[in-house]
């Protein structure tokens, strides 16, 4: 793997190429795809959490003017594969969670479809359900692996003995809430089944990966992948919830196949997204730290309890970041799951790292407090020489640099460590820090093609732009890899008609697709030198990573928190994130990614919680009035900086993924700042005023 030699486009803060179309409203999103005579699909959802549908009376719905079809387990086609039970919709009458799809109406308008759906009368044979996650359940089990493919448990040395011998210890339980991804654009699909020949299915779907969606849908319907085309030029946010197709995509395709030749549109409502589009499991994290008086860690343990669905297992890798973050000779990490009558959890921005850097990073702050040591210095004291566990050298690791740079920018050196002693007007003031990390991931399959068209260079790859900047950054990479001005490079993405691309997940997009583009450019240049004729074309395939190295991005998050002396209201007027994430391809889109992640981390710290009522089994605050997301008035000064980092091992661009690291550690930094402000350790998110009120005078 070699560096690109002359960088011209890479590193420039070019504006988004898709920006004008989005601002003007001409960018076409999935649901808006111009299709004549489209029909509309509205799901019907179960109102019990477990049991069986005993009767579905569709008479009134079918009698309604404008209703085209009603899909039920009795009328829907048998799917070729029901292996993924989340997607095996309308195949039987069993109900595994509240909100599950039990029927769907197809109608000439969305209004009629929705009205008809409300007219379907359902009777149930209800069974007792179980939706309550607790750490003391007696049916917790160890999954075989945790997402995506990590060992469930790890042990090094003897944690119990080290804890018993440690001079200073921290033992606490932390928890993170259930969260829903809630992208602005709902999960939406337009679908058309053309019965001509062997038939072909076209899906205009809001997805983080057109090729993975095609592969999944082809398998579910027993089609050749060549029969399925998935198109998605723009995505109005996904945060992982569009990384794998959910049932809405299957339902749209089922409807399309039930009414051949007629396009279908299906957009989930916000309320439906709380049952059908994935979420992050709540986590309960039992953490133990042992250290010498000088702050050297001697024991580090995290035991995680979280939930999954009886429908389909998803085991969030919450304990994984603790395996590599700090040096410790004794270490244990475990994951245990409760399988509940709930919808399947799934990916949400930084699965594993996001919740898994809450408990341990607050525990580090608690340890610093007990040691009487600065929390920045405590982290630096425990910097490992090689990756703990694997023993591999880091391709680059600049956590210390991030902490030092952040300390200087934030004014950390003047910090009085005592909690609850600073007051500004009616507010108690505190500051906090936490570390951040995210792995550098590369997916195994992606191909890019570069072609000369007239005086343009066209790069094609079925990549996704989630609002992240792919349209722009891939052009920058292609330009430098070809050695041509970026203004002469066109990018075409978001369509399975282009070469195969991996999912936009695990912050792997730039590493994977960018590497394929560099390979294609290399092939193109070696074949055509500097004078490619019109129509000249070459392809490149992403190569496996250099597995001699441990590759991670790092960061340091600093927060200032204010706690109101009368009411306990918590505000965060200042956030600073300093990141070491390799070469930054485009500072403008990168900054947006970092501060977007940090804002989502602030949201997790102060606001977000999906309230699952165990009596009903559904999230009762399933709209934006009650599921609070940090809004403009909650964010004041927010700043992302990055260190110049040269890493020759990660990929040809020297870049690390930046889509997720911004959310990692933010909530811990805020919790640590709240403690510093008012003296209360909030170990259970979100940090709401009722959790600090008792400590105010």
């Amino acid at each position: 793997m070699t560096f690109l030699n002359e960088l011209d486009a890479i590193g420039r803060g070019l504006p988004r190429r898709d920006g004008p179309a989005k601002v003007l409203g001409t960018a076409v999103y999935a649901y808006e795809t111009p299709l004549e005579n489209a029909a509309y699909v509205c799901p019907v959802q179960a109102t019990i959490a477990r049991g069986t549908v005993s009767q579905l009376d569709t008479t009134a719905a079918e009698a309604l003017d404008g209703v085209v079809a009603v899909l039920t387990p009795a009328t829907a086609e048998r799917l070729a594969s029901t292996e993924d039970r989340e997607l095996a919709t309308l195949q039987d009458r069993k109900i595994a969670f509240r909100g599950q799809v039990i029927a769907a109406v197809v109608a000439d308008s969305s209004e009629v479809a929705r009205h008809a759906a409300a007219l379907i009368r359902v009777t149930y044979a209800q069974a007792a359900h179980d939706c309550e996650l607790r750490a003391d359940r007696d049916d917790l089990y160890a999954p075989e692996r945790v997402n995506p493919d990590f060992p469930t448990d790890t042990t090094e040395g003897d944690v119990d003995a080290a804890m018993a011998a440690a001079e200073v210890t921290v033992e606490q339980t932390y928890s993170t809430a259930m969260y829903h991804n809630n992208p602005m654009e709902p999960h939406a699909t337009a679908a058309l089944w053309d019965p001509a020949g062997d038939g072909s299915l076209t899906l205009w779907d809001s997805t983080q990966g057109v090729h993975p969606t095609r592969a999944t849908l082809a398998a579910v319907f027993g089609l050749d992948e060549a029969q399925v085309r998935v198109v998605c030029p723009y995505v109005g946010g996904g945060f992982g919830s569009k990384g794998q197709p959910h049932v809405n995509v299957v339902l749209a395709a089922l409807a399309a196949r039930a009414v051949p030749g007629r396009p279908m549109r299906l957009a989930l409502t916000r309320q439906q997204m709380f049952a059908l589009a994935g979420y992050r499991t709540p986590t309960i994290q039992r953490c133990r730290l042992g250290a010498d008086h000088d702050g050297t860690l001697t024991a580090l343990e995290i035991n995680v309890v979280e939930q999954t669905s009886k429908v389909k297992e998803f085991a969030e890798q919450t304990g994984v970041p603790a395996r590599m973050m700090y040096a410790s000779p004794n270490r244990r990490t475990t994951h245990r799951l409760a399988a509940l009558d709930v919808p399947p959890p799934s990916w949400m921005r930084a699965p594993g790292e996001c919740p898994g850097m809450f408990g341990p990073e607050v525990a580090m702050d608690e340890l610093a407090e007990r040691l009487g040591m600065d929390p920045v210095e405590l982290r630096i004291r425990n910097e490992p020489d090689v990756e703990p566990g694997s023993g591999k050298p880091f391709s680059s690791r600049n956590l210390v640099g991030c902490l030092r740079e952040g300390s200087a920018r934030f004014g950390w050196s003047e910090r009085d460590p005592r909690p609850g002693v600073r007051r500004r007007g009616a507010w108690l003031v505190g500051t906090g820090v936490a570390a951040s990390t995210y792995p550098v991931s590369r997916m195994p399959d992606s191909t890019a093609t570069i072609r000369r068209e007239g005086d343009r260079y066209v790069t094609e790859i079925g990549a996704a732009d989630l609002g992240t900047g792919t349209w722009t950054t891939l052009a920058q990479i292609a330009a430098d890899a070809l050695g041509v001005p970026v203004s002469r490079v066109d990018v075409r993405i978001g369509d399975t008609d282009y070469p195969m691309a991996s999912v936009a997940g695990g912050s792997s997009g730039m590493t994977t697709w960018g590497s394929a583009v560099v390979e294609a450019a290399r092939a193109f240049r070696s074949r055509y030198r500097t004078e490619p004729p019109d129509g000249a074309e070459a392809s490149g395939v992403v190569q496996p990573p250099d597995d001699r190295y441990a590759m991670h991005a790092f960061g340091a998050q600093f927060a200032e928190a204010h706690v109101h002396t009368d009411t306990g209201e918590v505000r965060v007027p200042r956030l600073l994130g300093v990141f070491a994430a390799g070469r930054i391809i485009n500072p403008r889109t990168a900054r947006s990614q970092f501060i977007g992640g940090m804002t989502m981390g602030l949201s997790m710290a102060l606001h977000e919680i999906s309230v699952l009522d165990p009596r009903t089994g559904h999230v009762v605050n399933h709209d934006f009035a009650d599921y609070h997301i940090t809004a403009n008035a909650d964010v004041d000064e927010i700043e992302a900086q990055w260190l110049p980092e040269h890493d020759p091992h990660v990929n040809a661009m020297g870049s690390k993924g930046i889509g997720e690291i911004g959310i990692v550690g933010t909530a811990a930094a805020v919790s640590n700042a709240v403690w510093h402000a008012c003296g209360v350790r909030v170990r259970d998110l979100p940090i709401t005023l009722d959790k600090v009120l008792h400590a105010l005078e």
Partner: protein, 334 residues
């Protein structure tokens, strides 16, 4: 959404006759709450009668320091009115602390007090709710009660009234002017909303077909030094966990008079008469404010539920009232 007919009569009297003659008909003002309910199936009227254009949007002076606010006046216009800001700052504060700029541009003076509870179980037609379907049971009891009542609730309903504006109007002794099939009548604002008792389906004392045409604000010099303090789970765009509308008059360190109402804690804006009484004649001190809060909250009861229920609201309201009065007295001393 069930299809419905829409009518926009030529005058308010015709609108009242139309709605009174159809038991499922509803008035449509700014639509900021009703349209949500139509989409969610919370209400399924056969007839929707638009009234915004039929109602005065004027804010007129009724003699020195008194105002008549047309029911069609938008929340944003009312909040910005210089007389409201000078004579009744708590009302302007309350309006501006509610909803969003966009919603305030739509919501009307007549409609705002008639918005319905945001109880998540009321708004979800798949869960039982005595307010939506009398006799079906209250899902909020033992459920997610963070945003529910601590005062005046019943076993049948623990919902709270969500309006900020109404809290100020209750404290300001406002009067509601109503047009019904049998003519006009007036209702003291503090009597407009009901406690749930055994009929939570009725939010107010209005009869079907009665239309609010205006709200009168009597002259209240005390209100020139007044404030609305709203405490919520994020800095903007959230309903109150608790709120306090308060006006305080202090002379020589002694409280002469007070006007206080609470929001976010009961099925109606909660006029704190007992606290007002306790304050009159007391020294303007934090000790007096706390004592007044204790008197008013003597009957407060938390609603147990998920995540610890809402017991925190009792100390929170006590602290918020104390702080609001303390700050008003300080302002008064300047």
């Amino acid at each position: 959404m069930k299809p419905f007919d829409y009518l926009s009569p030529t005058d308010a009297a015709a609108a009242v006759r139309t709605v009174a003659g159809d038991p499922t008909a509803v008035f449509l003002g700014g639509g900021t709450n009703l349209v949500d309910h139509l989409k969610l199936g919370v209400v399924e009227p056969d007839l929707v009668v638009g009234v915004t254009d039929l109602l005065s949007a004027d804010i007129e002076e009724l003699g020195a320091g008194a105002l008549r606010i047309g029911a069609g006046a938008k929340n944003s216009e009312l909040a910005a009115d210089p007389r409201v800001r000078e004579w009744f700052p708590m009302l302007s504060d309350a309006l501006l602390s509610g909803a969003s700029g966009q919603l305030r541009n739509m919501a009307t003076t007549g409609g705002n007090p008639l918005q319905r509870t945001r109880c998540v179980y009321f708004q979800d037609i798949t869960t039982p709710c005595n307010k939506r379907e009398p006799g079906s049971g209250c899902s909020a009891v033992g459920g997610w009660t963070r945003n529910h009542a601590i005062l005046g609730a019943s076993e049948h309903c623990i919902a709270v009234h969500p309006s900020d504006m109404s809290v100020a109007l209750a404290a300001l002794d406002a009067v509601v002017r109503v047009l019904g099939p049998d003519g006009e009548r007036t209702i003291p604002f503090a009597d407009l909303h009901r406690l749930p008792a055994d009929s939570p389906e009725r939010d107010t004392v209005l009869e079907h077909g009665e239309l609010i045409t205006a709200i009168d604000l009597p002259a209240r010099p005390i209100a020139r030094r007044s404030a609305y303090r709203k405490v919520r789970d994020r800095a903007s765009y959230a309903f109150a966990l608790v709120s306090v509308a308060a006006a305080l008059e202090v002379e020589d360190g002694v409280i002469v008079d007070a006007r206080i109402a609470f929001g976010g804690v009961a099925h109606a804006p909660w006029r704190a008469h007992r606290a007002e009484e306790a304050l009159r004649g007391s020294p303007a001190s934090v000790r007096s404010y706390r004592a007044a809060a204790d008197v008013e909250l003597a009957d407060a009861r938390p609603a147990e539920g998920l995540d610890g229920g809402n017991a925190f609201k009792i100390p929170l309201l006590r602290r918020t009232l104390t702080a609001t009065l303390r700050d008003l007295a300080r302002e008064d001393a300047r």
